[in-house]
Symmetry: C2
């Protein structure tokens, strides 16, 4: 357990506020009805991993779609950069047009993206997303080039140059990426920096519970999770019990609860932050955007309550339209916050 505020022993000022590491994915979004989900054995709202053949079969059955850059940590990086943070990202795409799209979109918001692409292997990862009339998204991810991300893609000097290294839980699905995760966490702590983890989704937590429990207890300084993720991680029946387990386990726990706002726990401190009122159109990316806002505030030295407010404002903007990245300029609203 380390302190959530910058370590005063850090010798050099950080070059980056946030370094994100995650699965570099292009989203393919199509409308679908509930019958389509049943016919293809999908659990509504979940993210399922699919192989190349299953992805091809599913894509062939899907209606026309729209493509845009996605990936949980990549969304967080793009939103944080748009909010003014200095951001870098590590993730693996292929040398193909979707890889070009991914690289373009994350660089276009000012994110430093040094990871060399995979040549001659699997294509750029894609997530086939079905949006049902109730606004829920059901995701089917073909990891493609992401499965080759490993420790060699993590430059310890880059990690050492970032105030916070932010890792998505989905990174535990491709096996080689776990080595990248551990290498990054070690390099961050060796340089006196912080490590943050987002649990990604409750099914991801189920797949990797023991690894996550070990990580959170021993290698993570800042934990982001929503209600279903945190109760799943600690196998508790109530949010309150899970929150207390998180408080005991990690230096800073940031727990989001949708419309009920968020709860920030540090040591014996507890802070609640209200959700920002908005018209919800598509909840995808809400957690990614909240983490982006929170870390943008934290690395700028804002009080935790203000960090939560920035997170809530960013999340509210993202869920008010389709797509997981910011569509509006929030600089004015964030500058107006006290603190």
């Amino acid at each position: 357990m380390t302190e959530a505020t910058p370590n005063p022993a850090t010798p050099n000022p950080a070059t980056f506020d946030i370094l994100g590491i995650g699965n570099a994915i292009v989203d393919v979004v199509s409308p679908a009805d509930d019958q389509f989900l049943s016919r293809h054995d999908m659990r509504k709202g979940a993210m399922m991993l699919v192989d190349a053949a299953a992805a091809d079969t599913l894509y062939a059955a899907m209606p026309p779609g729209q493509e845009s850059s996605g990936g949980s940590a990549a969304n967080t990086c793009a939103v944080a950069a748009a909010l003014g943070a200095r951001v870098a990202y590590i993730g693996k795409v292929a040398v193909d047009p979707l890889g070009v799209v991914f690289r373009h979109d994350i660089k276009a918001v000012g994110v430093h993206f040094p990871t060399s692409p995979l040549t001659g292997g699997a294509p750029t990862a894609r997530c086939l997303i079905l949006v049902t009339p109730d606004g829920q998204r059901t995701m089917n991810t073909f990891l493609g080039a992401c499965v080759t991300l490993d420790g060699s893609d993590v430059d310890p000097a880059l990690v050492a140059a970032a105030s916070v290294t932010y890792l998505e839980g989905y990174l535990f699905d491709p096996p080689a990426a776990q080595a990248a995760f551990h290498k990054a966490a070690s390099a961050a702590h060796a340089a006196g920096r912080q490590v943050a983890l987002s649990l990604s989704d409750p099914f991801c937590v189920n797949r990797h519970r023991s690894a996550f429990r070990d990580l959170v207890a021993h290698h993570v300084d800042i934990l982001f999770a929503n209600e279903t993720e945190i109760t799943s991680l600690y196998e508790q029946n109530t949010f309150e019990a899970a929150a207390e387990a998180a408080r005991a386990d990690v230096g800073l726990a940031v727990l989001t609860r949708g419309e009920a706002g968020s709860l920030i726990l540090r040591g014996d401190q507890s802070m609640t932050v209200a959700a920002e009122p908005t018209h919800v159109l598509d909840t995808t990316g809400a957690g990614d955007a909240y983490a982006a806002g929170f870390l943008t505030g934290l690395t700028a030295g804002k009080p935790l309550q203000v960090c939560g407010r920035i997170g809530s404002i960013a999340a509210a903007e993202v869920i008010s339209h389709y797509g997981a990245r910011l569509a509006a300029d929030l600089h004015g609203r964030i500058a107006a916050l006290a603190g």
Copy 2:
């Protein structure tokens, strides 16, 4: 000059109502301000052809985007198929992920798409589209694989099997495609079928005016154009003078005027059709959708006035949201039309 209604001498019933031939393009749409257009020497609202290097430079400068299938005739085919017409499409993509996206999207709405992709050459065409805050779109097209579409891609048996072969004016930009155009027109007329042409945009008309004038007078049965296109084609100062020139030149002229509706001219008949009231969000694809609705009605044997109404309803749907293809199911509204 041939009749606009199916030729009674046609020996076999058509397998397809519409065969579209055009540039197979994936759109990349990003927001931009007017300064961005000036800095990159773009004329607002126009479609400009760019080479691979210029496309790369422009893409690097563009904000994050969204990708979806486009192409004028391809949009018409997708809308017509969604309206219930039996549709085929000829257009050239490459063997790359954007080519897969294009093929998926047009096949997913039921369009027959037999054209073999280009291997080992240029990539799938893309149109870099900047949307300014006033809702206008400025387009920059890198034709890529489209420049290899030629006569060998046109199967005369497929043309002979379609009631109407529909050609986009943009097809005159890649030089080899003109041979495809002429081969298709000859095959259609040899089989007693109809040839339709859409002028695409006034700048395209400027680039190819004499070729278009010759075509319209000698090889086209149905002409689609908007006000600026038709006045440019005939180099007239008024819409009325241009419309009379079109009446004298072509069997069936269908002239769209935005909010002012459309004018249908056949021989000495003149019919006006009101525009369908809607909230305009993005006018891209309005002409493509109108042509789709009109031809769907025409090939189903509807009176011209009803064809115009179906065109207006389809266009109104498409301009009420972003994207050039239908988002709503219009079957009920169209079935309710008299005729």
